[in-house]
Symmetry: C2
Subunit: 596 residues, 2 copies
């Protein structure tokens, strides 16, 4: 099945549901849709024609490790070179380092396209982009000078080295160490695991960002520093020096994402340590890493959207083609898309995918406002909004990435279970997104314990008020096409509002209850947010149609918002109950754990 | 991680929540728990010690096909021979053919154990058992004579040959044909796909049950006949004759269940047809096949439970061992089981698994009553109850099989994505259960269109009344350990009752709406049923504790029923809304399908 990037869908969202038109109008981005539209179009074509055809082959071949050298799948390097040559590696970075500095809402759409075409390919770009952000924000000028231009051009790639065997979600347990040298450099020692693209053959050099502890560092997360450790050392004139003492000691045999080498990296194995350079200040590494993590979290959410989109396209194509059973209006066997139960599966896939995309693009939009608006308080408010939405974007999108891919297998019936078909690969690929860059449990805890209390709850309450306005607007419109959308959406928003109050009440004194309900709370949040954003899209579509628009997609957007509100947002009440009255049942279930 | 069969859990359920004690007391089964307990115990040991150790190796090796011969994984044949030698292949069959004729509630528990140990191994037994049932019910005496004893002994295995490339869920589209010969035998021609254990090297002969059409047969499902086609022909004296003209032309490369060969079977390739024997009457093959399908559907539900159980055990073991982060009461890093969010994941896994098992065992219990009670009307009522519960048992258990296995991966974090750990295999294996033996969509349609209208709705209403009684009993008890169980359960049952009424209203005149809501309706049914059965278990546990019982599992059963009611049964209201007011949004969403 060939992939078709959802260019029109993204463009419609950017034009009707984000601040991008306003930023353009006010000259806060030096851009117009005359540029953005062709960029989306070209990226979609590149993803579909150059990257997508490699995805299944890469899954089959995987990566191999021999004597510290990783060989990526056939065609991988050529595709990567074509991708960088076309300028796609540089879309997000600052112009100073050769980047195009496009708005995050636009680059997020591009991230989706690459990752729909092949998430194993796309994750490499996600990590390099994160490393670029961290270096841009925290790197010393000479480090930026040496490394950033090359990374932005894609000549060199970047990695994030956080995880150690005993330190996954718990970064406080990190043991890798770094020792300062007389010349101001550091020597880094330790073993890192699960390092995506830690070693590969697609680019000349690899810039590892590594978390490690100084000998005299405080315990816990306040004693972690961030270091840049290049695979090949770079001389002052930019020429390559010696190979640094960092090697790939193993690659994982994984459920999916086979085209992406997941490496165990050993630093300083030879004894004297890998040469590293401090990024930011000593013992402030976690803050630096979070710069890249937040970006990466949104990008991983987009990976979830991306695979969901691909799985949805594949399921629709199959369901239109495959004939089984009778249905009104069809001679002989009907295509299975005509069966109400299959329709429900397909609509669920499409609605969850588009809702997750909307949440991700609204997060990106908040980041754009945070970075581009002139008014400092508006910027701060937008940044707080982005902070709030990021864990929702990451966790919800990756959860539905798995669910949608799984439903895609189901739509294919027995053929879905056969690897040749391709549907199963999406499920295998998507499964990691809920885990890496902070598990979805960690995201839920971050949302509840750190993001809800922002400004005493004002940030979340403003967002909820926005959702309520959208529901009210739909209700006021009272258009038959929207069915019960207004009512169902208002119910979901009310449920979110009540659960939010309960969470804020619990946080100071009863945190365990808040933690016990964090995951259903995040899902509840996404039910209201997804429903609201899809309704916002639908309202815009309704407006265009009323103004004479005839694109059949306008009606589709309204029908989709309705389906989401009536069939998926309805989960909100039950989720609220799980949050507000289910916690004791979790916390008092020690008896179950004791006998397990 | 070693597998431990949930022997005590099953025994407690059989003793407190099924008719088995009554059937024993009244001499309707020739059995006591003095026999059943050791049978469960021994089966659990066999599953854990002989089968379970092969599961991962089999997944890695898979099966190979060369010149029509399938080689199964190392150890597979020896394990199968040990399994049959120990008598495990014969537990369900009639005594007349060498079977032990144990109650279905007991054999279902055994089916769970084999499939927890290895579903790729277990599915072979499931299919042979189905074939035995069909032959027992519909086979002519001479066919039974020749084949059944060997199949019951496990010397020969059985298959179900339904699916063809153009006929998956739609059996009316079958094209395989059969031509009657002068000697009363038939010649069978055609290609069947997705035939589990269609060819293998673990037993001497394979007895294929094949659906095919006679030349003059009516179109559609009323023109399908069932044939027995042995791999090796059997002479009148029971000795082997020639090889029949049926060959394995290919095996599938699947997402999981690698130890189970999934074959493309070609009948009559040489031109004269494979020799076959009619089972039952001409053109009545579908009815015969449904005998084996219903049994197999329950068994596949149990496969879902089985893999969920294994995944749950693995996740608990990991969560007790893996240390990350701080938690009250732990020096240094705490085991992740101490974190409320992880607790919720583990409790969800355990609760869904036990609820699904309860639904399956209650289905089996209804079958036992249908076959063993003396009163014909009680038997008929029990059979109708089993018919009603079978699609719920199949679809819900296999849905949660996937969900629980996926959550199991999540509990393991990054390690869950590495194949070596074993968690990912459960997800890969479980994914097929929702598809084979009738997709879960087909189950939901069967439930709504064929099972709800039984006796004008009396059958379903009686079951709902039973659930309501359980909720009322919990509420009346008013014991603090149960939390809000009574209220939440009553709400779920009320939601089910309302949705059921709506479905029954729609069926005669508005079937598309009923079909559009079938899947959420089935889930709603399982939310009420699972909650009620777990509460029934909890009430029994409460009673034992009140009578002085000190087993810590008693408290665990109460806590689990509470968790389910307060955190999972709460989905009921939203599901009801999707069923009762979401259908239009499905049926009127043509605009979405049109632009896809």
């Amino acid at each position: 099945m060939s992939y078709r990037a959802p260019v029109e869908e993204v463009a419609f969202f950017l034009k009707t549901c984000t601040a991008l038109p306003l930023l353009m109008e006010q000259g806060l981005v030096d851009l117009s849709f005359d540029v953005v539209d062709p960029v989306l179009e070209e990226a979609g074509k590149f993803a579909a024609s150059v990257i997508a055809p490699l995805d299944k082959v890469a899954d089959k071949q995987g990566c191999t490790l021999k004597d510290g050298t990783v060989t990526t799948p056939e065609g991988w390097r050529a595709a990567y070179e074509a991708w960088t040559a076309a300028g796609w590696s540089s879309v997000a970075a600052e112009e100073e380092f050769g980047g195009q500095h496009l708005p995050t809402s636009v680059t997020s759409a591009l991230t989706e396209f690459w990752n729909s075409a092949s998430p194993a390919f796309g994750i490499g770009g996600v990590l390099t982009m994160g490393a670029i952000e961290a270096l841009t924000a925290h790197g010393a000028p000479e480090l930026q000078q040496t490394y950033l231009t090359k990374m932005v051009a894609g000549t060199w790639t970047g990695t994030m080295n956080l995880t150690e065997p005993q330190a996954g979600s718990d970064l406080a347990a990190l043991r890798a160490k770094a020792v300062k040298q007389a010349d101001g450099t550091y020597r880094v020692f330790g073993t890192k695991i699960f390092i995506s693209y830690g070693e590969h053959d697609i680019a000349e050099n690899i810039v590892h960002l590594v978390l490690a502890r100084l000998p005299d560092a405080p315990a816990g997360t306040r004693g972690i520093s961030l270091f840049l450790v290049p695979k090949v050392l770079v001389n002052a004139d930019g020429s390559f020096g010696e190979r640094n003492d960092v090697v790939c000691a193993g690659i994982e045999h994984k459920l999916g994402l086979h085209g992406s080498p997941t490496c165990t990296m050993v630093f300083g194995e030879k004894g004297e340590g890998a040469i590293g350079y401090l990024v930011g200040e000593e013992n402030r590494g976690l803050a630096c890493m979070f710069t890249m993590m937040n970006n990466a979290r949104l990008a991983v959410g987009i990976q979830g959207v991306a695979v969901a989109e691909r799985a949805t396209q594949r399921a629709f194509a199959y369901a239109k083609d495959r004939r089984q059973g009778k249905a009104p209006g069809f001679e002989g066997s009907a295509p299975i898309i005509a069966h109400p139960d299959v329709k429900r599966m397909l609509l669920t896939m499409r609605a969850e995918t588009d809702a997750a995309r909307a949440i991700c693009l609204k997060t990106a939009d908040a980041l754009d406002r945070a970075h581009r608006l002139p008014d400092p308080s508006a910027r701060a408010a937008a940044l707080a909004e982005a902070s709030l939405l990021t864990p929702v974007a990451k966790a919800f999108s990756t959860d539905i990435g798995i669910e949608v891919a799984s439903t895609g297998v189901q739509v294919h019936g027995g053929m879905g279970y056969v690897e040749e078909t391709g549907a199963a690969q999406h499920l295998r690929d998507a499964r990691i997104f809920a885990i890496y860059e902070g598990t979805n449990g960690i995201q839920a805890i971050d949302l509840v314990t750190r993001k809800l209390p922002q400004e005493g709850g004002d940030v979340v309450n403003a967002v909820i008020a926005d959702y309520r306005d959208i529901a009210a607007e739909v209700a006021a419109l009272n258009a038959p096409d929207f069915g019960h959308t207004g009512v169902r959406l208002a119910e979901a928003v009310d449920a979110l509002a009540r659960a939010t109050r309960k969470m804020l009440d619990w946080l100071p004194s009863d945190q365990a209850k808040a933690l016990a309900g964090a995951t259903p709370y995040l899902r509840l949040f996404a039910r209201a947010a997804g429903g609201a954003y899809l309704a916002k899209v639908a309202l815009a579509a309704y407006g265009e149609r009323a103004a004479g628009g005839t694109d059949p997609r306008l009606a589709a957007r309204i029908a989709l918002a309705r389906f989401f509100a009536e069939n998926l947002a309805t989960e909100a009440k039950g989720l609220e109950e799980a949050v507000t009255s289910g916690a004791n049942g979790v916390l008092e279930a020690e008896a179950v754990l004791a006998v397990a």
